[in-house]
């Protein structure tokens, strides 16, 4: 009995401590990376390269996701609002749900799938092939050279991608709502303009930047600390994607309840 109890509590304690330790390690790694931004050498060209790979690379998939999100919201919103006879609210319903909620979260998911996984896999393979050690041997700080540009790129790229997602989503919602379902164009735009306030947009940008930081921090850490084997990299990539998705949703809830 006593052995069983010590076994159970030991297991709980061990997993708690190890997850705390990993959270702390990941936080320290991203803080170190952000410090490296302010220290020479200047890594501008690497940041631009990462913005290209992560931001521009995710543009098409984000635009497609945004378009279909706006379209399906128009259909579903129309179906629901028509039951109350208030189809004219369609514009504000689409705009508020895309700007406050779906834009940041879906764009973050797409960035995780498209860019987060590749960050982890890339850094993990650098670990396996000892490129990180080689950098250190050449007195190049791998945190400043590899980690920092990637975190910074996700933080910068995600709000921009979210803005593009919003615009594409609203335009697609307009096309379906006005041209296909016959909602009054003036009412659609008018409702959208009066109901969306600057605070709603600000929440969207804050969420986007927060998610970007979270994705960058989690995905780089998993790659950096990946076990130096093929399976290790595979496992790290899976875990990075899963944990990023879950923590984006958790942070989304926290930010929404905080700002409401």
């Amino acid at each position: 009995m006593r052995r069983l109890l010590t076994h159970i509590f030991g297991a709980i304690g061990r997993s708690t401590l190890s997850s705390l330790q990993r959270t702390g390690d990941a936080t320290m790694l991203s803080l170190r990376a952000l410090c490296c931004f302010f220290m020479p050498p200047w890594q501008g060209s690497h940041i631009v390269r990462q913005l290209y790979a992560l931001g521009v690379g995710s543009l098409i998939i984000i635009a497609i996701t945004g378009a279909f999100t706006g379209m399906v919201l128009a259909l579903q919103g129309y179906y629901m609002l028509a039951k109350f006879g208030s189809e004219s609210l369609l514009g504000s319903a689409i705009a508020l749900s895309i700007i406050r909620e779906l834009g940041p979260v879906l764009a973050a998911f797409m960035l995780i799938g498209r860019a987060g996984s590749s960050i982890t896999a890339e850094i993990g393979i650098m670990r396996v092939t000892e490129q990180l050690d080689a950098l250190q041997m050449m007195a190049v700080n791998p945190v400043g050279r590899i980690i920092m540009p990637r975190i910074l790129a996700t933080v910068i790229a995600l709000p921009l991608l979210v803005a593009i997602f919003d615009v594409v989503g609203l335009a697609a919602g307009y096309v379906i709502g006005v041209d296909l379902l016959g909602v009054n164009a003036g009412a659609f735009i008018g409702e959208m303009v009066t109901k969306v306030a600057m605070e709603d947009l600000n929440i969207g940008w804050i969420k986007a930047a927060g998610f970007g930081l979270l994705i960058g921090a989690i995905c780089t850490w998993y790659g950096y600390r990946a076990e130096a084997t093929t399976e290790g990299v595979a496992r790290a990539t899976t875990q990075a994607v899963v944990l990023s998705c879950v923590s984006v949703l958790v942070l989304d809830y926290i930010l929404t309840s905080f700002f409401l």
Partner: protein
């Protein structure tokens, strides 16, 4: 280095498009530099505003002339509204503010009916004449219990 120049240009275009999208949304939907910066504020005290919200329309003759900037309860348990009126709209000192509903279940808005006075209200003034939200239940009970109907 040729490849890097190309990357730089494409990233530049990406950042530019993103910032244009942000600015476009902020100007078109967030109304930066629109209603909030130019215009003036009036206060009005109502007995009952029927659940009007911040951002609700202020209309005159069916034209939107501003919005509700703040709703609060004052010491006398009356609703205290702060109305943001667009620049250039003149409201006479004896104007009447009424809480109305768009349609039957629509949202509440403030209707302002112009008075006869020559002078107009300035920033920070109060609209003295107010009329509360029409409550259907009150109307019904008033009709039923009014002395004229008791025979």
């Amino acid at each position: 280095m040729q490849g890097y120049r190309k990357i730089e240009i494409i990233v530049g275009i990406f950042v530019f498009v993103g910032i244009v999208a942000i600015a476009g949304l902020a100007i078109k939907l967030g109304q930066i530099g629109g209603l909030s910066s130019s215009g003036y504020e009036l206060t009005a005290v109502f007995e009952d505003v029927g659940g009007i919200r911040v951002g609700g329309d202020v209309m005159m003759a069916g034209v939107s002339i501003g919005r509700v900037a703040d709703v609060s309860l004052d010491d006398d348990s009356e609703a205290h509204l702060l109305l943001e009126i667009n620049e250039g709209i003149k409201i006479s000192t004896d104007a009447i503010a009424t809480v109305r509903t768009k349609g039957i279940i629509g949202e509440r808005y403030i209707r302002i009916t112009q008075g006869a006075d020559e002078e107009s209200l300035n920033d920070g003034d109060e609209i003295e004449e107010t009329e509360s939200a029409i409550n259907i239940e009150d109307l019904v009970s008033k009709y039923i219990f009014s002395p004229d109907n008791k025979e």
